[in-house]
Each structure stands twice: as C-alpha cells, then as structure tokens.
Symmetry: C2
Subunit: 202 residues, 2 copies
DNA sequence: GTCTATAAGGTGATAGAC
DNA sequence: GTCTATCACCTTATAGAC
C-alpha cells in the first residue's frame, strides 16, 4: 500500500467519479468523499471542476492514444506487427475497460476538448501509412486506403468494449462469462480477421 | 411544414437537447426554450426529467437496433446479405450521426436502462446465427464464431461514427471532407473487407 | 392546456479560522 | 494545508390563477 499525498488522492478519486458519471453528472462532493478529504481542498489544488476534469481527461486520453507508431516500427513482418498491436491494445483495454466510453462520451459532448490535446501529444500516423503503402506496393496485401485499414483495426478492438451493455445483453443474453470469453478470443481472432481480409491471394 | 401539437414538440426538442448534452447535462429550461413552450408544460406532459429522457432514449434505441434479422432473411446469397446490411445500416447512421454516441454514453452511465428495453423490442439474433452456421457447414466461409462475425460487422459500421472527433482530427488532420469521404467509401468497402476476411479459399 | 410564481433542495466556489 | 461555514446561484418540480 503506497502512501499518497492529497494531490494524488484527488486525481485518483476524480478519475473514478468522472469516468463513472461524466463531467456533468459528477459531483465535487462525491469526489471529495471518494478521496476522503474536504470538498474545499479540491478547489485549493485544482481551482475548478472544469480544470480538474481536464486533468483527468488528458490522463485518460494519453493511456488510450494507441501506440500505433511503436507497434509498426522495426523490421518485423507486417502481419506480425498487426498481431502485436491488436494484442497489446486489447490488453490495455482489459485493464481500463471504462476509459473508451468515457473518452467517446465527453468528446461527443465537447469535441473542442480534443484540439488542446492534439499538440500536447505527438501522434504522427505517417509511418503507419508508409508501412501500409509499402505492403501494397510489394503486393503483400490487397489495395486498401491506409486510413481505412487503421480505422478497421481499431474498430475491431474498441467497439466490443464501448458497446458492452448491448453486446452482453443482446448477443450473449446477459452472460458476463460469454462476453468475457469473446473479448479474450478477440486478442488473437481480431488480428486473424484483419489479416485474412487484406492478405493478397493473387 | 407539418403542424405539431405540444406533446410532439416536446419530444422533438428533448431529443435534440438530450442527444447533445446527455441526461445529466441537459436542462429542462433549454428543452422548453427549444420547444417554444413553458417549462412547466414539460412536467404536465411527462411528469419528470427522467421519464422524458426514458421516452427519448427508447425512441433513439429503436431507430438503431439494427434490423439484422430482416437483412438476413430470404434466399439471397450470404455475401449479398452482408452488403445489403452494411449499406442500409451506414445509411441510417448517415441520417442520425449523433445517436450512436448518445446510446453508448447513456448506457455507459447506466447499463440497467437497457434491461427495460430488451423485452419491449424483440431482438432475436438466432436466425442470423443459423445463417452463419449454415455457410460454415457448406464451407462457403471460414470457421468463425457467429457472434464474433456479427460484432465485427457492426463494429466496422458504428465505430467510425462514434470516434468521429478522434478520427477526423488525428487520422484526417481536421478535414471534415476527408472524414466524410471515408464514411461514404465505407458503405461498400466495409462489406468488401468482411467478405474478404471470411470467404473460404480452400 | 398553458401560464406565473415559488418552493425545496442542490451546486460550485470562496472566506476565514486553525 | 486542512477544516467549517456560508454565499450566490441554479435546478427540478409543484401550486394555483386564467
């Protein structure tokens, strides 16, 4: 059990409450209770609800900005890179299952929030584009718009988690176990699906 | 211009405000202003904010409960069915681009909400499962868990829309035009991607 | 059915003692 | 740094006139 100072305790508590309730639904009192401190200390450390939220949102976004670039560096086989990315990304999701919905919800309410973060994180997808185009040129994979392929891979990882209530209740008739099995399967199967879709069969 | 009575005007206004701001972020005053009526009329017709919201949520959910079953009925070729479903579903999304985020956000805040709706809509996916399993048996498509295939198809349709701010700003560097072109392309390309992934090449 | 007025309770934020 | 007390405002909801 690590000893935390007040500033850190607030962030941990704020993450929990904001992720669960959203900006509009969260209450400063609830965050204070969760942190085991007085409400006015929230303002002492972070001045306003909005500023505290921005702090939390940036941390959450950073966790989930996919390390696409890193996964696509190096000389490994292109299909291995896809397998590695899918496995790594789904593992992050496993550990933080509520963050994708949180990001999507709050960005839906206020898309401008993202613009602040773009510069602050460097998210250049160009190397991934280049890698995809090279594979197409080498005729290893079928013709596809690189952006489409990137979106497809991430969609197959993220959607099953953001739509959890719907999938669990409608596809798996309420079974948490079946839902979890599907997510686990996906760490391998999602990459297999993608590779099968793009592999050149000429 | 169709003449609307007060009850209908309220629902239309409530849809707009709730979808934009969410349950917690929406204000009854704003809904009243949007409908051009007095705030107390909202309570006269719908008793409480929560009840009005539930009304709106059910309408939104119904619009988006994918008509999977319908698309998979009939004797058409299985791949044609997929093409038809993807095109139809992406066309609905085109017309209601903010509803998927709305449903995901509000279900994230309160997953129990879905349970009320399940019974009220009949959403039996069994016929789709059967159709998929038959194709596998006939060796027309590769071995795949039917639930995985269904989730993949919907993921490829829905994710690009719910993650719009991220995709538009990071993948397309802020270009609304590029984003829209991608969505349009997808009406054909998403089905092609899926078919290419599952088609048996033995 | 529609309005005005107001109740009743929350909400983020700050002042000031310790 | 941390607390108590309190401000100023906002929010849902209702009562009652027309």
């Amino acid at each position: 059990m690590v000893e935390k100072n007040t500033e850190e305790k607030i962030i941990v508590a704020a993450e929990k409450v904001f992720i669960e309730k959203g900006l509009a639904g969260a209450r400063m009192q609830e965050i204070a209770d969760e942190a085991g401190i007085n409400k006015s200390l929230l303002h002492y450390y972070y001045r306003s609800k909005e500023k505290l939220f921005t702090m939390v949102f940036k941390i959450a976004f950073k966790t989930f900005a996919p390390d696409l670039i890193k996964a696509f560096e190096g000389d490994d086989d292109f299909f291995v890179k896809i397998e590695r990315f899918v496995f790594a990304y789904l593992s992050i999701i496993d550990k933080n299952p509520h963050i994708p919905v949180f990001i999507i919800s709050e960005l839906g309410n206020n898309p401008k929030r993202l613009v602040d973060i773009i510069g602050y994180l460097d998210l250049n997808v160009q190397p991934v584009y280049d890698a995809i185009e090279e594979e197409i040129k080498k005729k290893m994979i079928k013709e596809i718009e690189p952006s489409d392929l990137i979106i497809n891979v991430i969609a197959l990882c993220v959607f099953p988690v953001v739509a959890k209530p719907i999938i669990k209740n409608i596809v798996f008739k309420g079974s948490e176990e079946e839902y979890k099995k599907m997510l686990d399967r996906r760490k391998v199967e999602a990459a297999r699906f993608v590779i099968s879709a793009i592999k050149n069969t000429d």
